[in-house]
């Protein structure tokens, strides 16, 4: 177990109307086969997981006074492996990162390259506070890039009438998400 480190299992972008805008699912490390091919859950289960996080966003909104935006930190841990972190932009778009605590095989070389020596041991234990900040920052950058595209109409994706909305179809955005999810490991400062 010590050989596994956290990785991102799923990235979700949720629109203002609680509608899914984008979901990317990443494969997790499977100690039985020692490969990373299969995601730890099915897409339906990830959908359910992301939607359950919306409850937490709502709860936070209710329990605190004033607007909630920015990094909400840990939303909840579903079990020992999966935990969801949330971020809300000031336009009401929500980013959810689902972390698989044992999603990646600890490769000492990789860790040393990315975050410096000595990180590998610590990384296996848990996550620092604010560990998701670079992920959210990168996601927001990608989202802003998407918004800058004149052909992307945010109202189409989260209509002001509050019902549903289209999903994001931008390939660049999907690639960005994929890159963010794949390149994150605990301890990186920027993505």
């Amino acid at each position: 177990m010590a050989t596994a480190i956290p990785s991102i299992a799923c990235l979700g972008v949720i629109g203002r109307n609680n509608n899914p805008l984008h979901i990317t699912i990443f494969p997790s490390h499977d100690p039985a086969t020692n490969t990373s091919r299969q995601p730890v859950r099915t897409p339906l289960q990830f959908s359910l997981l992301l939607s359950s996080c919306l409850d937490v966003f709502d709860l936070r909104l209710r329990s605190t006074t004033g607007p909630v935006s920015g990094d909400l930190g840990l939303l909840h841990a579903v079990d020992e492996r999966l935990a969801a972190y949330g971020y809300e932009t000031n336009t009401g778009v929500r980013f959810i990162v689902v972390v698989d605590m044992r999603g990646r095989r600890a490769d000492g070389r990789l860790l040393a390259e990315r975050v410096g020596k000595g990180a590998a041991g610590a990384a296996a234990v848990g996550l620092r506070e604010g560990e998701m900040k670079p992920v959210f920052k990168a996601m927001q950058t990608a989202y802003i890039k998407l918004l800058q595209n004149p052909f992307y109409d945010p109202d189409e994706h989260s209509p002001p009438n509050g019902v549903g909305g289209k999903k994001i179809t931008s390939r660049t955005f999907a690639e960005d998400m994929k890159r963010i999810g794949e390149s994150w490991i605990p301890g990186v400062n920027a993505l």
Partner: protein
Amino acid sequence: MDDYPRFSLDHNVPLLVTLGVTTDESPYTLDTDPALRANAVTIESKTPSLDSDQARGLLSYILDHDASDLPWNGHDAAVKYRFRVRTAERTLSLPSRQAQLPENVEPPQSPVVLHSPYSPLSPVSQLYPDGLIDAKWVKKHQELVPSVILSFYNLTSDPTRATLDDNKLKSDINGVKGALQQSGYKSRLAVMILSEQKKASVEVQERLENIRRGCGLDPKCFFFIPAVDSRDQLERFAENAMATIYVQALNYYSDMSKHVRKKRSRGVAPSPTVPPTSGTSQTLSLHDWNVRYDFKSGVFAEYRQEMDVAFRSYEQAYENLLSSEVAELIPNWSPRFNEARQLADILSIRTLRCLLWAGQSTAAVRRWQHHRDRIADLVDRRGSSTNNYGWQAWEARWATVMANLLERAKLPDLVPSTLALYMPAEKGAMVDRIRPWELLHHTGYWYRLASRHLYRRRAFALAIPEDDRRPPASSPASWVANKAFTYDTYMCPEPHEEYPLNESKGVNHSQLITDCIMKARSEFQKRQQLRLAAELSLECSREFKDPKNVVLLLEPLWRDMSFRTEGWLDIAEELSWNLRKAAFATGRTDLVVTIDWELLNMGFTKLGNWHYDLSKSLHGMEADSKPTVKIHDGNVLSFLSTSFIFKSEEGKAGEVARAQLSVTSRAHLGTAPITIDRLQLDFVGSIRTLVLEHKHDLGHPSQEHRDTTIYSTQLEEKTEDEGDGQQTALHGDVELTLKPGETRVFNLDIPLREPGEANAASARFFIHHETFDMEFVAGFREDTASEKWYLSASSKKHVSRANAHSIRVLPRPPKMEIKLLTGPEEFYTNEYIDLQFELVNAEEEKASTKLDVIIRGDEPPPRFTIQVAGSDERREASTSSDESSIQNESLGGIDASKSGLVMVRIDAHACSATFDITLQVTYHLESDHATSIIQTGTFPLVIVSPFEANYDLFPRLHPGPWPTLFNYEATGIEVGPEDATAVVPRGISQAWCLITRYASFAITNLTVKGLDVRVKTPPSARCHTTQKEKLPDSGREVTPKTIEETSFDLVAQRMSLDERGTVALDVSFIIKWSRLPSESLPDPPVNTTILAVPKLSIFGMEPRVLGSVSFIKTPLEMIELTITIENASNHFLTFGLTMEPSEEFAFSGSKQTTMHVLPVSRRSTTYRLVPLIRDAWIRPSLVVRDKYFQKVLRVISTEGMKQDKDGFLIWVPPKEEDDEEEKVQQ
């Protein structure tokens, strides 16, 4: 947690047994175990039990404050003491301290050392010879051996019996005390003396003291409860007493701890009463004993509520237990192995409780994980591996345990009302990195975790080979032996019970799972995690065997599904399929049809093995009658999308509005085409319901492009009989079979009836199938999203306005037309203006009409009259300063497409001006008398002056003689015959010529019928004009913009000779004219236009020199030039005249002469000129000079002469002309 032996996990609270009060509540009972009953110590009180209200009240207070069910946390600081209370009336039996030797055991040689029946040393104990500890020991302290026996006595109030009763009491207490001491238990005895007296008098005090001393009781164990008025007071007494007793109880458990410590510190493993002969013959080692002692220490510490001490003891016991010396040495086939595992679990649970008690939530989760990992490791190495159902069962149990612990602990930071999902890490656990799960989540998450393990347990169970599923009796012995090693059966059934061949008898995994999930769900619901709760319901529904339950669980979710509206279609789809399956099984046709309808939507995943044909929905279902299913748009994601747009925002009542209805099918490709039998559009407002009915083969659509087809649909009004009366609707026949992806667009002309707002409310699709009828209602929402209007099948445009499905119906437009029949193009001043208006009724029925005519303008408008055709009456307008009007002139009824005529005659207006003439027709149709319809027509009326003129006044020589100043009477000049009767003027006369040049500014030719000047003379003079040339009788036709000239002679005479001042004349130029005769007006009226002439000033003071010529033909052609000097002044003037010779003519007359002119007189001198040149102007250079003033006077020319700045000129006609002609050149 209920799976663990009773009492093993309970929180330990000091046990108190009451003695001496009758009650049925929580009675003390000794174990039924014969080993314990044998040699039981009986403690008996001889005095009868108390039955007074005071005693009962006291006991009920004590029972009410039983602490066994208090939450397992240390937050309730208000609790001063915690007791578990049992009641005994007069006797209680304590378990025997020493076990007896079983009869079949041969006693050893040495003297028998008997041990407690709970000890593994005693052969009667189940732990004998090598068990560690079991729940019975905990039960002994929890339930059987009290820390304090509280005995109640009554103090006699009768003074005569006082001594006797007190002594009885004393002996009874002593008896109890003695029995207790004899039993060997160190339980404390406390006594409560109840009295009927309110206050303890000195006497009573003495008695009490006597009793206490006589029994040798500590004052801390001896209480006096006097009679009290209120329960509150009683409770206060009781509370104080109990708090004191509590200290005794804690002391008792300290003593027990000390005893255990003493035993542990001996450092020797005691030998059993009888050496074991069965099994491995193994006895407990010192390490084993230490585990036992540490466990006991922990429990006693817990009794004292010293949770930190307990924690340390438990941890020590746990570490020792799992060390290489204890658990590792136990063979895994031995039942002791599972006992050790259970003890490890119990120790861990007790440790967790201690941690939660201290609020160390993160440490608790870590400890929880630690135990799981330790045991997994142990089981993997020593047991039968973690890859079987038994391990998963334990994992599920382990997660449930945590949930149960949290339930009992009731951590204040995690109660549902806080809406907190997890606790923040406590300060002590704050390390740099933390796993998310280590933040203690609420119970729901733990139950959910347990359910996951239960799923896995089932998966493992289902994988058990058939051979293992046979009961042991019917399987070979080798299999049975093999099974024992393969399956982990710790706290779970054997494989043949877990999943027997007869499946109905085995473990009901589904039940386990659903129970667990339902518990989790209720926790999530309490914390408003509704989506998560919905997810669990979905999970749960898969486990339900009874489809009715599934429908019950899923239908409310499916009805108001946030997943659907928020666009989580994959979840919605899963839910729908699950519900459909159950609905199909329970015969819920409405649900089946609705779900099938929804799942046709392309947004959902298409399943390969599904028919996607609505007509087959109910195949295989039995229904009593043909069901009718009603589906609302908001409830499902329909594949049919409907839009209805009015082309324009506004329409007028009585007209038709162009609208477009489009229906698009977004069904899966390959879906059977769907035929809508009837489409009904309901409107809010005055628009009639629109019904489109399906007809086959209606011919060709107007346009078709790919999947879009446009039809122009004819609508007709039909009245249908419906349930509640007749209803008129617009009907149209259309073809309404929609293939997937197809769009049908219908262009409709919808008649608008009444003014107001109207909008399409809903579209209702009626579909009839053999097995069911359905109605789908799609509402049109108020929406800001722009809709699309199909211009053609291939092109559409955005309709930018919001709510394109609504239209504002404006009032019915007036259809009465007001026409101005052709009249003159221009209107002139001073003429009557006749206008003729025609009111054309373009309505479809007769209209009763009234008319208002108003003329408005900047100036006071002219008066006018109107006359309605067919009537002789003329009505005059009433005029005010800014308008003149005629109101409510009735025109009667005008038939449809007929017209009425109105003549308006406007009085002549004197000056040019601009007016508006407004005709307002108010009418109502015969069919609708209430609604007045108003039509207005406004026509500009520009009145211009037809003529303009300018004027010149030239002096002329008056032929008549002037009166002489000297012969004043002699003058008899007649100025005019008409003045004969008037005063005869006696002043001087002068003649003038007024030349007027006028031009027509009209746009047509006009006939000038007469010209005149009117002179208004002041009283000091008299004036007379004559026109020189007369116009012909028929008048002269004047063309526009040509200047016509006419001249008038003007003769003026002063009334008196004495007057000297100038006279100003007011002259008006009068033109009488008419328009040219036309067909409509053969004899046009003559109008008079008066033009004002600028003021003419005559009769100056200065002398005038007038030159006049006359031609003399014989004998010689000569020109006679007469120079007349008029002296209107009172002075005698002398003028010098000098005539220069010229080459142009010869002249006779004085070359140089002097003329004297008397005051108010004139004199002439004549020159005869013989011109030397012909056909030219000659310029006689004649200078007239005022001798006195030495001033040259200008010679003013008259007829036949011309003047320029150098002097005057005379025209000499050509010679050929015999007759002399006069030409006036100016």
